[in-house]
């Protein structure tokens, strides 16, 4: 079950939001429940400390206490890293990226457009619910790795190859439409999926995305045209793969 938290310090707005949420849950008969609706961020943290949950959080950014909603979001992440966080804010323009990258917020709702709020809340509930259900019985495989504070997730089907950087322990993941660096070891990555093949001391290639192999130049052309390198030691194994 997805548990809903609401933290908004204006009592009137809080009851309004709570009503929107509970109405929608009832009408659609969703597998959700409002467990905390409060003006005090401590209540949310207390609940999380005592219960293991996957939550949907509606948080006001400007709480009338020392802690901002964003800080609260970051704290929530320590207990619930799968949960969906939605910020409710007055200054729409200025904090979108911070929401996304500081706490991996799912969405944000602006109070400036008063009429929209209900619709936006319903949108968020739908998205969070879909995401929750998909995670529960999912067959889309995602490569995930944690690097420092950051969680990196890339679909296996998008991965082209991994390359070591000149800096020790740093790896560059090349995917269609994304290049991302993280800390790890090629050896560990190789063991994560059978699609991966060590084609060079410094490269691990995703076999599914190979377009063709140039044996004489020892180059692998990927489906998007990018070139990955192979060394003669691993070339023979590669030949077998391409022929099958």
């Amino acid at each position: 079950m997805l548990e809903v938290f609401i933290c908004e310090d204006d009592p009137q707005q809080r009851s309004q939001i709570t009503k929107y949420v509970s109405d929608y849950i009832m009408i659609e008969n969703l597998d959700m429940k409002i467990v905390v609706s409060t003006g005090n961020s401590e209540d949310v943290i207390d609940y999380l400390r005592n219960n293991q949950v996957t939550g949907l959080y509606f948080l006001d950014v400007d709480l009338k206490e020392d802690k901002s909603g964003i800080a609260l979001g970051a704290e929530i992440r320590q207990y619930d890293n799968q949960g969906a966080i939605v910020f409710i804010t007055t200054h729409s323009e200025l904090t979108y990226l911070t929401f996304t990258y500081k706490v991996e917020a799912m969405d944000y709702i602006t109070k400036d457009k008063f009429t929209d709020i209900q619709k936006r809340i319903i949108d968020c509930i739908d998205t969070a619910n879909q995401r929750y259900l998909m995670n529960k019985h999912s067959n889309r495989k995602v490569f995930q790795t944690k690097s420092g504070d950051k969680m990196i997730g890339v679909d296996y089907s998008d991965i082209l190859f991994f390359e070591t950087s000149s800096q020790l322990h740093k790896i560059i993941l090349h995917a269609t439409n994304r290049q991302v660096e993280f800390y790890g070891k090629l050896k560990d990555i190789l063991e994560m999926d059978s699609r991966f093949y060590r084609c060079h001391n410094s490269y691990v290639v995703n076999k599914d995305n190979i377009a063709e192999v140039d044996m004489s130049k020892r180059e692998i052309r990927m489906t998007n045209g990018q070139i990955c390198y192979a060394s003669s030691r691993f070339l023979k194994g590669l030949k077998d793969i391409v022929q099958h």
């Binding site: 200025l94 995930q144 439409n177």
Partner: protein, 441 residues
């Protein structure tokens, strides 16, 4: 046999000083090729040309290093310096042997060849580490290297030529003890002089670059201050208008003229609230950036973006006091990120550039996003050296950025194209990180 071992050690000295100097590992394959190649050349030419065969080996080594680094000046310098070091070490050892153990040059050539050559090797490696320190500081300052690289190359080549000219003359005279001693002292002093001149030169030039950086930074901050003053003036104007507005409104209310009140509200008051969202306010949170250099570059680039009619916004929610990266490098990275974002955004229908500086538990994240055209080329092409959507001779930016990040131990770059947005995340960690990967289904 002895000659072979001695040559092997000598060639190993040449080949392995190069990676020491470059501060970079070269593959086993390449080292073996370098070693075998120079050994073959050395053994083949030594009987014919004597000491001059080293110059042929030098050309070969330059070729090898160029194959690895693809940069001419760099390869010439890192191949020539070990030669100079070997010559200096050679003469120092010879001098040492003469003075302390009273061995003649002939003795050295016959009986103690291997130990002599080993001594040369050790001394050369020690000098290489010293050289790496000097050379490393120079290479860290890319513009510096670009400007004075040619001069430096000329200097080391001339030094080497002078050394070999002397050796050649010595060879003609049959390497008498006096000749060796004279040469040793000459070389040693010349070498020390060269090092001192280099150090002084580097010092002066570093100072100059620092001064230039300060100047640029000052100009940027001035621009920012002007921007703030403008903002302050706007506020003043607004405060002045505010009272008048209230007076007018109260007058309409008192007379109950709802129609004119509404018109007045729509015509006069709504535009003001629109003005609140205007460009100047979008840089408001920049005050949270406490690093002057970073603030300077962010403000100057974003103001430039706004002048180009780009919707440029910055978000800095928490105060940023520290980013664990050399400030010159950091500003270069941020400059490249923003230049790139602005260049691309300008071509869009609704151009926007959005920047955020976000403090996280272990790191500071600089996020730059911009709107991009739908026909953006494949991501990997954008990073290629010399690639640019604007024809040749541009597009060094992103490949330079990648190079800087690759050199840095605690910085990572994440680039993606998502829903018509180009997103670049530069993450600077407080300390180097190691982590485990895991898979979820």
């Amino acid at each position: 046999m002895i000659t072979f071992i001695a040559s092997l050690i000598q060639m190993a000295t040449f080949c392995f000083s190069i990676p020491i100097l470059m501060k970079r590992r070269i593959g086993l394959g390449l080292s073996l090729i370098m070693l075998a190649g120079s050994l073959t050349i050395g053994l083949a030419l030594l009987p014919l040309m004597g000491a001059m065969s080293s110059l042929v080996i030098l050309v070969f080594l330059i070729g090898c290093v160029y194959y690895m680094s693809r940069r001419w000046l760099l390869s010439i310098i890192v191949a020539v310096i070990p030669m100079i070091l070997v010559v200096v070490s050679d003469y120092v050892i010879a001098l040492f042997a003469q003075q302390v153990f009273d061995l003649s040059n002939a003795d050295m050539q016959d009986k103690y060849l291997v130990s002599g050559v080993t001594g040369i090797m050790l001394l050369t490696f020690a000098l290489s580490y010293l050289g790496r320190y000097l050379f490393g500081t120079m290479r860290d300052h890319e513009p510096f290297f670009r400007r004075y690289g040619a001069l430096l190359t000329a200097m080391v080549i001339i030094t080497l030529l002078i050394f070999y000219l002397n050796i050649w003359i010595g060879q003609q005279q049959g390497f008498s003890n006096e000749n060796i001693r004279a040469n040793s002292i000459l070389f040693l002093f010349y070498f020390i002089l060269l090092v001192v001149v280099c150090v002084v030169l580097i010092r002066i030039m570093m100072k100059e670059t620092n001064l230039q950086n300060k100047q640029v930074q000052y100009e940027r901050l001035t621009e920012y201050t002007e921007n703030l003053e403008q903002l302050y003036m706007d506020m003043q104007k607004f405060r002045h208008d505010y009272i008048n507005i209230l007076l007018t409104m109260s007058e309409y209310i008192r007379s109950g003229d709802m129609e004119r009140l509404e018109r007045y509200f729509n015509d006069r008051i709504m535009p003001i609230s629109q003005g609140m969202q205007s460009n100047n306010y979008k840089l408001g949170t920049l005050h949270n950036v406490k690093l002057q250099e970073l603030k300077g570059i962010l403000s100057s680039k974003l103001i430039k973006a706004q002048e180009l009619k780009i919707d440029a916004v910055i978000e800095v929610v928490e105060p940023i006091e520290q980013v664990s990266m050399d400030s010159v490098q950091l500003c270069r990275c941020v400059g490249i990120l923003l230049d790139n974002a602005i260049e691309e955004a300008v071509h869009c229908e609704t151009p926007s550039v959005r920047v955020a500086v976000i403090k996280r538990d272990q790191s500071v994240l600089i996020a730059v996003t911009n709107s991009c055209r739908s026909d953006t080329p494949e991501l990997y092409r954008i990073f290629e050296r010399g690639f640019s959507t604007k024809g040749t001779n541009r597009g060094l930016g992103l490949s330079n950025l990648k190079e800087i990040v690759a050199k840095s131990e605690s910085t990572t770059l994440d680039t993606q194209i998502l829903n018509g947005e180009f997103i670049q995340l530069l993450e600077v960690y407080g300390s180097p990180v190691t982590t485990k990967s895991r898979m979820t289904g």
